[in-house]
Amino acid sequence: MSATPAPRNFAVRAWEAIDERFQLSGLVAFLSHKEVPVAHSIVWYYLGGLSLFLFVVQIGTGILLLMNYQVGENTSYESMKVLVGRVPFGWLIRSIHCWSAHLMSLSVLAHLFSVLFVKAYRKPRELTWYSGFAMLGLVLGFGFSGYLLPWNELSYFATAVGTDSVKAVPVVGPWLLRVLRGGEEVSVQTLYRFFALHVCILPLVMAGLIGGHLLFIQRQGMAEPLEAGHEPAKKKGGMPFFPNFALRDLLLWVIVLNVLALLAVVLPFGPGIPGAEWELGEKANPLKPAYPGIKPEWYFLWVYQMLKEFPAHFLGMEGPQACLLLATVLMGIAFFVPLLDRNAAKGKPSPLFTDLGVAGILFLGFLTLKAWDLGVTVPKGKDPTADPVLANTIARTAALWILGIGIAVVILRRLKWKHSAFDFTIAVLLQAALNGFAHLSWLVSGGIALAALAAMAIARRMKGPGAAAASVLVLTALLAPPARAEEKAAPPATASAAPAGHVAEASWPADFRKMFEAAEKGVPVLDEKARARFQALPTHAQELFFAAAKAGTLSGGTHLAALLALDIDDRKVELILGDNCFLCHSNPDLPDEILFRKREKTDPLRHLDIREVVADVHVRGGLMCAGCHGGKPTDLEMTADIGKRWPSSEVRRKDRSWIPEFCARCHSSSEFMRAYNPSLPVDQLLKYRTSKHGQLLLEKKDAKAAQCVSCHGVHGIRPPDSTNSLVYRENIPATCGRCHADAAYMKGYTKDDGVTPLPTNQLEQYKKSVHGLALLVKHDVGAPACNSCHGNHAALPPQVSFVSQVCRTCHAANGGLFDGSPHKKAFEKHGWPECETCHGKHDITRPTDEMLSDDPKGLCHACHAKFGEPKCDETAKYFYASITTLRTSHEALGHDVDRLAERGFDVDELRFQSSAVNDALRKTRLGIHTFDRSDFTRNSDATGQALDGLKKGVANVWKEYRFRRNGLLLATVLISLFGVLLYLKIREVDRR
């Protein structure tokens, strides 16, 4: 070879020595005789080589990553963190690996479509097409398996969703899913499998396929375009593969490597579009609920979107199954293109297949654009498609884009290459338009587009021959639905023999069987569901039904049906069956006696909801209706004992004071309560008597005053730790607010002075307060509710002197500091409450530093102007100045840390330091409660020191950033120089 660089003699001699031993000159001669067809579409011929180059980059960077990556549940994410954050250039290697992976997928896809457009798949190169298609599958497999390896939140959920679609495969789906995941769920087993797949199995298979693919190309040479604008390819003699084309390949690779480095430094975590970002984020947590908006990598987005477009059931199949079938059919058509395209096989132009390729890109593009939520901005973790208005906007924007691109491509093809077949493109554009603008569903739009396609094919056929492919497609599309519709679900088989734990149907008593099989006008009273419910009941519950039927408390089929329709568990069914009160008073055949039925909103108090009553803590403990109302659960008739335990109905409605005494019959008896809950206090009545409510009810006979039932409810009382209980911590504000926030109800009630009306805005204030938000919005049950300050049964308005003691239960440190402070004495002198004076009571908001400011609105200033000495104001100013300085520098550094994180730096160390500053700053703010300069300074100095440490850390990372930027600049210059010289070399070689 003549084009060896400077040390010619040595190189020539070395070459001759090697050639002598291995006879390589033959290979060089072969390569230099090999020619690349020179057409104006030569640019497409680089894509295969480019894909190969990117694959080699993947192998190289992949091997390097393996040296630091440790697969495992507790190591995968952590080792990636170290790799990206601490290992020198680890971030670069990973970023290049990710970028190169995406570019490889892109270039393989572009290669595939370019081969499709020049019809290079035609005979005799079918095998090259098939092997290439298989490699596309492998590339997607690489992407899918590699995605999981960092074991972060995004990859975990995306893999869970992605693997889940496998189960839609008929027959073997569930098995395949288990094999793929290494178990029922995505777990560390899945991680091991994907790791083996990604670094061992797929590379081996890929190497084999690449070898075959290249061999085919070497044996057959490169295909010439079949129809570059309908003109037969001119024989220009072609360009020698070596060195002319090979040097061009090399130049392209150099450029691509430079682009890779540039992208890796500028956008280390990807371009930030859905499906192409690889920030590590949070570690995978299988116990964490999945969040909406989880998306797979961009090349799977079309399937992801298609899955969303399918309803739960479609033509007798499950939605995902139908979707998978459609995707398989589409992929099958693409795969078998060499067989379908008869014209190209004969060397004749096949414009319909060119159009099919264009339409394929537009079809996939429309789905992908929709999956990108184009046209709406949504916060991360939200799914805009849940909102139909947003979903329409997305569809419209995506359709607009696709129509714009599609029409532009049609015009270009018509004018530049004189194309005339646009059937498929028109169908795809029609679908996008109908879906985007007419808001028809994607499937319906697709159906209409298919019909249009069929119409075009028929019109074409009438004119003359051709479009065989189109008719094949239309036929499959038209034949498929009836074929699918035949698959009807078989009715569920009814079990004839009773399984263990149930009474066999043959031994059911005759009277019960009559009810069970009762029919009205030929229609069975018990539907399938009720029958199945009875059959699923345990033996004991079934026997209770038989007994009730025998005793007559179960009156007939309607009654049985009503009981079986209740959506309650077996134990509760037994409770109802064991109590005649429940049975008789829920019988639809006795409308005058009925007390229980499903509660209706319009009439909430007239009837009790039986499901609520059997959930009552008392009923579940065995205290049935008779326990309070009198009588016995086994009574078959209403007896005189019932209703005698409390005053007559007129008296008991006017004077509610009997209620506490009535509940206390059991609840004040430690002997009695011990049998149910030994830890339950028995002093509620004693406390209640001392409370405001108790005084009003028991002494003044005020029926409006709250008693047991007002807070705990009546039928359906739950234990206080049940979230359904009216006195569960989170429900207390609403329970108290039912009276205390009702201005009409509270009218006439005053404070202790007897004059000031009792306010009714406490609930409203509380809801906005820091405590209300913590309890009601953040569901922090540690946050105080009304009873934390006011007490429960002994509810009293808290006195000035003990409010602050309540605050101290949580804010202990603040209280301790305040106790020794000058404010303590001053507040005592004025008779002011401690915490409340500055922070408020029901409306306590998060304290701000501005409370210290000398602004007229500042808290300290306003008070000191009236009551304090000048030096007090000075101290407040000093506190304010120190804290705001520290806060501002901390905020500025926090901003810096965020900027560094955006630039791809691992800022864990800085965030750790920042949290230490935060702690110190919190301590400094806490120290204000001493109202003492020297105490405060000790803390603020410590904060200053922590801040200095953070500053140094931030400066170091910025230094590293500049190093990276300069390194990139140097590398870019070097690569560009090499590229320019390579270009000159190519020109020189071309001239020879």
């Binding site: 507790n74 290992v87 949290s915």
Partner: protein, 157 residues
């Protein structure tokens, strides 16, 4: 510019030599730009990483000995190390499960305390009182103050 140069008669051969020489040199420079990061990448870290395991420095050990507790960093976590009554070392997450404040050890009471809302934990991380909803997660700790002390994650292999 280049094309006008190339058309000068007789300049072809020497031009080719120049191009070859520059091409070789720039290739070497380019290769260096690729190889340098790789070599740096392959050079092991002095402390061997540390997202799963961290070894205390002498200064940290002194602090732990003097104060009875220490807040150390392990990957993204803040870890509280303390000496219990038997002078045995224990490690747990230093992030209060209530509002995420950093907790501290109070040797006099033998409790881990969060100053923010008076949450109290036992030395094994159990909640004793206050608003924290969950116990503090445990970390493994090996060695003692006389030798090397390493802290590692829960059930890490």
């Amino acid at each position: 510019m280049e094309s006008s140069l190339s058309r000068e008669p007789g300049a072809g051969v020497s031009r080719r030599r120049w191009i070859d020489a520059f091409l070789g040199t720039s290739f070497v420079a380019w290769a260096a730009a690729v190889v340098y990061p790789v070599l740096r990448y392959l050079t092991p870290l002095k402390d061997g990483g540390g997202a799963n395991k961290v070894t205390l420095t002498d200064a940290q050990k002194t602090e732990l000995g003097n104060n009875g507790f220490l807040i150390a960093r392990l990957g993204t976590d803040r870890v509280l190390l303390l000496k219990d009554k038997d002078q045995k070392l224990r490690a747990m997450s230093a992030k209060c499960t209530h509002e995420g404040c950093t907790v501290q050890f109070v040797p006099a009471d033998g409790i881990v305390w969060c100053a923010c809302h008076n949450g109290k934990f036992a030395m094994d991380g159990r909640v004793i009182s206050g608003p924290p909803p969950r116990p503090l997660a445990a970390f493994n700790v090996e060695g003692d103050l006389k030798g090397a002390v390493t802290v590692s994650r829960g059930s890490a292999a």
